[in-house]
Amino acid sequence: MTQILKPVRKALGGIHPAYHKELARDSAVRELTVPKSLRVSMAQHLGAPAKANVKKGDAVLRGQKIGDAAGFISSPVHAPTSGKVADVAEDITAAGTRAQAVVIEPDGQDQWSPSLPPAMKWEEADSAALITRVAESGIAGMGGAGFPTHVKLSPPKGKTIDTLIINGAECEPFLTADFRLMVEQAGRVWTGCRIIRKILNARTLRVAIEDNKPEAIAAMEKAMGNTEGDTAIVVLPTSYPQGAEKQQIFAITGREVPSGGLPMDVSAVVENVGTAAAICDAVVHGYPLVERVTTVTGKPVVQPGNIRARLGTSFADLVAACGGTRGVVAKVIAGGPMMGLAQFGMEVCTTKTTSGLLLVPPSDVSVFESSPCISCGRCVDACPMRLMPCDLSQMLEAEDYLGAEAMNVLDCIECGCCAYCCPAHRPLVQHMRSGKSRAMLRRKQQQAEKKA
């Protein structure tokens, strides 16, 4: 019997937005056939973008490495299907930046590369070999951050990990990709969990699921069966941002990640269920990461659902696979409504971190006029990192970047809770982002000066 536990602490702050998950939660994952063109970005992860190792005219096979990792915090990129390289050019990303992309014209054969790594007996393999397999397979955090997984699973000397948390919370409204993954392929997720546990040699394993996903809890319970050791499912109360890793660690273990620190500082690692499933594929079958499930949802979408598509599929193709749109689409968001990025074109392509595509009708778009802060304090109540967004935004508006850094603007996780509840409609997250980038710039300059 799998243990089911309650969290030990109530996560601080947070909000309860309307979730609208019913639009896509009951639709089983649909496979999208390979579109006519795939534009695979080299910048699919945090850290240095990969370097394309193919050129125009080259033939590629599915799973073949087309981008080499550039440094330690980087990930390789693999061809999602077989075909010909039509171009290697600069392309726009979902974040609005530009990065190199390999444009592939599929040949329709969808042939796997013969030089894929072999299946591994992971119960007998050692951590180093498993980590190398994860690195070679181009696996990055699929919850949205895209941090190269092999780096997360290799904590530096001196940091032991005793708790592994598998994140199935999916707190972002509208998104249901992780939910369907757990309901339909709980076995894959569970194998991935066990592999990660072996890599980290973690004593405690917790699978975190929010209480608005009873079917997922049941499916995971069934897949996990009789578990060994300190293993359990933790049912978290539904709130946003319960899925943020620092908040999850606090709720499940009661440990607080120190300011400016990482989860490994409190001996914990958090991995998304999608990442766990991808690790299972990579280790058990040798498949690199070439596809992912994306929730395509929103009122204008004719058939909202969860689409499994190859990386590099354009947003236009994803929406077409959902029956297209009805009515006017005023806003397109890559991700969810809280932390997603608004797009200005449908030609942007999916990457390893595209968990959702949300289309918004004009009636639901808020075009706001912001006014001065009235010091109501709602943002302070809502901030899950216990910051003071009201003061921070005033400082950043007055361009007092040093003051903002002293008030820990670098700890902001950009979840959007403050902006959600601000009655003066202040663009708080944007202020925080500008403050964070200035603070990082200042620190870099300081370090450069020290070296000089």
């Binding site: 200005f344 706001f368 500008s434």
Partner: protein
């Protein structure tokens, strides 16, 4: 002793006593002070108002001597004090020729359309961070006024979402140059009036879609200008302000097909 005498004696003694205590204390607790501090303090008005940002004239003097503080911060003393301080510190600013700032872009609301509605912080750096800015032109002026706010003498005005510098007000401090996230503002000699009002490195066809007055890299100006006074930097024509352009100026303005070469 009568009361008046008592009072006088007591207070004289107290006065002498206090004076003595202070005199001895000043001797015992004497601190070596840089004599230059006293000299700088003599130049400052000594009102100790704190207007410079330091706690009194003594602190400002220390900041000038040891922390390389700017010499023009005394609001009470004004330019006269600043000049005297400059003379004392032996700092002379060699100005070969007075420079003024110029915004090398004419992509206002009529010329350079927007791609999407940007609804957020009205700051150019913030807008530039969102999807590369809300204009089709990736290089042009975003028009949110960050440079105008940075200018200490209000020499920049926003005219139809385009920053325009009033050169007669400009004091060449360079704050606007540092503020512009797209590096559009340059400090050029005040006497030069002919400029290429475009900073887009995109190729001609892309520029045509982005702006009505952008540089389309036809290279005609490089042939018309004397002695390579205008040269191409990729797909952008750039004026070399070290070389004079006098009689060719009118022709250049007339012949430029992109209408981006203008006299300021």
């Amino acid at each position: 002793m009568g009361p008046l005498t008592t009072a006088l004696v007591v207070f004289t003694l107290t006065g002498i006593g206090c004076g003595a205590i202070l005199a001895i204390a000043a001797r015992v607790f004497a601190v070596e002070e840089d004599p230059r501090l006293a000299e700088i303090c003599a130049i400052l008005p000594n009102g100790n108002c704190g207007g410079c940002g330091w706690a009194g004239c003594g602190e400002y003097a220390k900041a000038i001597l040891f922390d390389k503080a700017e010499l023009n911060l005394c609001t009470v003393g004004g330019t006269e004090t600043a000049q005297k301080l400059a003379k004392y510190m032996g700092v002379t600013v060699e100005v070969a020729e007075k420079k003024a700032a110029i915004v090398l872009c004419r992509g206002n609301a009529g010329n350079a359309p927007r791609r999407f509605l940007y609804n957020g912080v009205a700051d150019c750096a913030a807008a530039n961070a969102v999807d590369g800015g809300d204009k089709i032109c990736r290089y042009g002026c975003l028009g949110y006024g960050s440079c105008a706010r940075a200018c200490p003498v209000n020499a920049i005005s926003m005219d139809g979402n385009l920053a325009m510098v009033h050169p007669e007000l400009c004091i060449s401090c360079g704050k606007c140059v540092k503020t512009c996230p797209r590096k559009l503002i340059k400090l050029v000699p005040e006497s030069r009036h002919l400029h290429v009002f475009c900073s887009s490195l995109d190729k001609g066809p892309i520029v045509k879609k982005a702006c009505k007055v952008g540089c389309i890299a036809c290279t005609l100006c490089t042939k018309l200008a004397p002695d390579s006074a205008i040269a191409m930097n990729g797909a952008l024509a750039v004026v070399d302000y070290a070389k004079p352009i006098t009689k060719e100026a009118e022709t250049l303005v007339q012949k430029c097909p992109g209408h981006c070469i203008q006299q300021a």
